[in-house]
Amino acid sequence: MDVDQATQIDLFALAPELAVLGASLLVLLIELFLHGPRKRFVNPIAVLGVLVAFGFVVALWLDGAQRSSFGQMFVVDDYALAFKGFFLAVALFVLLISYRYFSEIRTFQGEYYFLMLAAFLGMMLMPSARDLVMLFIALELVSVPGFIMAGLRKFDLRSNEGAMKFFLFGVLSAAVLLFGLSIVYGFTGTTTLEGVAASLSAGEANPLLLAATLFVIAGFGFKVSAVPFHFWAPDTYEGAPIPVTAFLAVASKAAGFAGLLQVTFVAFEPLADVWAPVLGVVAILTMTLGNLTALTQTNMVRLLAYSSVAHAGYVLVPFAVVQPGDAALNADAFSAVLVYLFAYGAMNIGAFAVVIAVARRHPGRRVSDYAGLGQRSPGLAVALTTFLVSLGGIPPLVGFVAKLAVFFVAVEAGTTLGIVLAAAVAINTVISLVYYLRVARVVWMEEAPEPEPEPVQPGLALGFTVGGLAVVTVALFVLAPLLWGAADQAVLIASG
């Protein structure tokens, strides 16, 4: 790499990341000097840092110019900004749903918020990374804090076990990913994504190189909990503190997809006819297995965990229809992924926020705990129903738009695999409705157990999150063209 270029640092391009980094350090240091219940005041500092970073993202978006730093390793363009805005919005809601939860269990608040911000720092680096080295660092910066946060309830064996599984799967997949990266580097002689793409389209496909491509994709498959790399997900989700579960199910998964988008649509695009069918099979397995297992769950968190596995399957569908050189189709597939991720983020965090609110009265988190919620807390019940129905993909909610985007792109491809995938999406949507509506039926139709539990009081931050996200879930359906347009703007595919 050119040394002069590598020493060019554009501080404005890095400003959102620097804001998050600064906030994370402040949180860590200020928490040292707070005692007892006052430790909860580190949460507003973290929120402030996220808001400042969001301001910088907006400023960069208004500025409009494509910026880069560290010699094209770190690029700020529409794609990167779209994801950064999304991640910061998710960060804001995750922090809001953490406030009450962590100030009540009163453990490791400084560490928790520090780790959370560090993980979001990694996520913000991810869409800007245009180099395998940077991509790897961003991925690990998301993963490693996640391992600790999943085990943060360290007095609870389930939390520890979940974290341990997450950790072992995580490091194993990191090793596999790295082995793939090293072979890709060995054959192409470069670590930039564009360089890899150029080199791949020039030379003929070596079998070892094809294997390496699949290794890299498998490494990301772990992050997005695609079958067969999903075994950690339900256990980790159940054991972790619920805000961390929301983080893992939405933010960490979206970051994995961001990395996968860059690797597949940019670097490995010339080899798409090899990896796309593989991802197609993985997509079908993931959504089917996730949905079928979710059918039998009686624990609300596990139900949402398997539902999130199934949703990873839907997001993988557009990846499977990519064809080398077909820029129009690839761009449509790309924007379908973005639409799905953004919609999924809004509705899934909302669902977890309701679970946190209800878990304050019913720590068991059983589905039967939600009986009679419609009478006790109508607001929460309406919101929960909205999120669940949206996750199921029924209009007039954003989940429908997302399913439609994925479905259309599968049909548009016109290949046999595309038709099979479209059919799989349709069938799975019907299966998933069974368990989403079962919860809704428990909420509205079943009587609460005697004696009737006290109404659930979500508190200000949680109430704002639940209400706000419910509105977003409805509004994004009405404003679907806007969402679609934004996603089309942010497409990033190989310029070969």
């Binding site: 040394v3 350090l25 860590l28 240091l29 040292l32």
Partner: protein, 124 residues
């Protein structure tokens, strides 16, 4: 291939000489010394500690914190050594390199007061 092994001739010669030296010394000592051995004499010993118990010994769990700190500061050198080797020849890039390393060291050093305040460095 023979050429390849020839480059190792010195190593093999040294190895043979070493084995020979020890073998000769031990054989010679065995031939000239009196031999009246019994159980106590044949047992292994070290610094007067009785050779009892198992080969595995437990270390106090307290040490693991220090092990972690060691890992952190150990890996830090990974970046500093290559940096120090190149710094002398960097020419006009020297100020930039110095600045980057100072930023890095700032973050690493920041952990020390944090550890102190958390009480990790106290032996208790």
């Amino acid at each position: 291939m023979t050429e390849y092994y020839e480059s190792y001739t010195t190593v093999f010669a040294l190895l043979a000489a070493g084995i020979l030296l020890v073998a000769v010394a031990f054989t010679a000592s065995r031939l000239v010394r009196p031999d009246r051995s019994y159980g106590g004499k044949l047992s292994t010993y070290e610094c007067g500690i009785d050779p009892v118990g198992q080969g595995w010994s437990q270390t106090h769990i307290r040490y693991y914190l220090f092990a972690f700190l060691f890992v952190i500061f150990d890996v830090e050198t990974l970046f500093i050594f290559p940096w120090a080797v190149v710094l002398g020849e960097a020419g006009e890039l020297q100020p930039f390199m110095l600045g980057v390393m100072l930023v890095f060291l700032f973050f690493v050093t920041l952990t020390l007061p944090y550890e102190y305040k958390k009480g990790v460095l106290k032996w208790a």
